[in-house]
Symmetry: D2
Subunit: 183 residues, 4 copies
């Protein structure tokens, strides 16, 4: 899980929040996050491929990961999901946020990797995780080095799992199970 919060000030309802203030929040309150697993679907809605970003994660390692980021003050969950998809996949990705607002799972990230298996050294975050079909052309933006599409079989293979940290490999398996495509 990563975003640019730690390296810059953040806009809030009451103005800009300093990095220092954000650090205090992080040490005291769970944050609200969204995780999005981008997928390609066929004409019947079958998931054919899962997209993963290659980027520097919250733990500073370069690893494969899903789209992820914070929900801002005053922002709807749906808006945050769209904003992070566009930020990470580019403006032509055409993400289709599901009509159902219920996440397929809740990923609880903790600084202690033992608690839930979802790990973020920076904070405790409760992340609402969604599968988001994308129809358009994806171009990784910002810090992402690459975006690669994997078949469900590849996405759960040892090779790919080894390139993932923070529990994102497990999140991919839960997403594939949700859409009935876990091998």
């Amino acid at each position: 899980m990563t975003d640019i919060d730690s390296s810059s000030d953040t806009q809030t309802e009451t103005g800009w929040l300093s990095s220092d203030q954000l650090e205090i929040f992080r040490a005291n309150m769970p944050l609200v996050y969204v995780d999005a697993v981008p997928v390609r679907v066929d004409g019947l809605g079958n998931v054919e491929e899962v997209g993963m970003l290659l980027r520097q994660g919250a733990d500073r390692s370069i690893s494969r990961m899903v789209v992820t980021g914070r929900v801002l003050y005053g922002e709807r969950v749906r808006e945050a999901l769209m904003r992070h998809c566009e930020k990470d996949l580019g403006p032509m990705a055409l993400p289709r946020v599901p009509a159902n607002p219920t996440p397929f799972t809740i990923a609880e990230y903790f600084p202690d990797p033992e608690i839930s298996g979802f790990y973020d050294p920076r904070h405790h975050a409760v992340s609402l995780a969604y599968v988001v079909p994308v129809d358009g052309e994806c171009e990784p933006t910002q810090e992402a080095l690459d975006l690669t599409w994997f078949t469900p079989q590849e996405a759960v293979s040892d090779d790919v799992v080894l390139e993932m940290t923070s529990g994102h490999d497990r999140l991919i398996r839960l997403a594939l199970a949700h859409v009935g495509k876990l091998p």
Copy 2:
């Protein structure tokens, strides 16, 4: 719930099934059905309108109803859902069957309207119900007399509910609740 099964023979794995044979099935075994609630969504996935067909229902009354029909032998649920959407909404409707195969509810139709509130005088059917966003132009086909789009507020209004039978008004409310838009 209606389809053309009662007025014609039906193709199966082992050839054509006669109307008589279908009648025997109907009197002895629950059938597998799908119900689809067509919706229009905005760019963030918010449901803005619900589509309802005006047609002769299983109870022979003219009423507003959702897309509905039987799953055939050898057919995937997803395929049945797409087939019935195209049959009822026309070839340009561009229905988007969700990636998640889980229905938002199970509507159990019985010849006795007291059992579950979902009623079909012809048979016992277990229907998997889905919300299906449609992007294209819908034209009611076959026996449907009309297709009308309603806002969530209109869809649960007394006027519209009065035009529905067989429990379809309740199915609409369950669908709107599922997408977080029940007024």
Copy 3:
């Protein structure tokens, strides 16, 4: 939505959080909440009754509401759900938190009641909402004045809806739809 946060200091990972600090969080970041709709089920899992607390809400009115409260730093969502159920329903309630961690809906509470229909004058909260069967004896504790059980029909009646604020009446309808019991 209410809890005792505004009237006392709060324990966190890094010690006690002052009321002042909590106020700053509330003005700048969405908080993570859980909502629990207590229900009585029969032997087949059918929801027969919905429990509602009578208490002073976040908007200071006395109204009927569901169990609700904040997720603390370091706390699992499941633990928060159990803690708030025990706090509001008493130690003998025997709440059964579902095995599936996915909420039935996400209730987004804002200081502006127009944004989502879920309203909290104090803050923006993203609340994970669950239906929680309770087997034991419930006794309202803390600030709750009363706990009353309603049939699904009663729970959505005009009389009961009029006694609810903050969107809790809608949350009840979404919960009843989720369990297939919305009238």
Copy 4:
């Protein structure tokens, strides 16, 4: 997937259905089934163990499998789920059918194992799959030779997967993903 249908006559609304008639249905129409994955949960609802029966499957092999069986004419899905759990786990199992009637997945069994990965040589069945916590003492009944409890880690291990057929190993993984416990 197995039940006693193939070896005996079956009661229906209109009387007893002969084995011959059932064979005709099976060759022409998808049947409605339920699958139940029995689990043990802790006080917070966390799944700690998964129960699997050892019995002769639909493909005649002795294998580990979940509880499964047909929905009868006139029977609610909930009733079928309870009936099959009691039939396979014994009268003291105290299964707790979830309040939410939505299955966690739809398992589509076909005589051709390539279509969906769920296989039944006898027929096409659409099975509604549920996770069912059991509180009491389980004793395998009828044809089951044994009932064994596995941790999530064990349940997805190669050793156990090798003892499963018909796609039941995948159903277990989907069930564990649904409750957030897939390793």
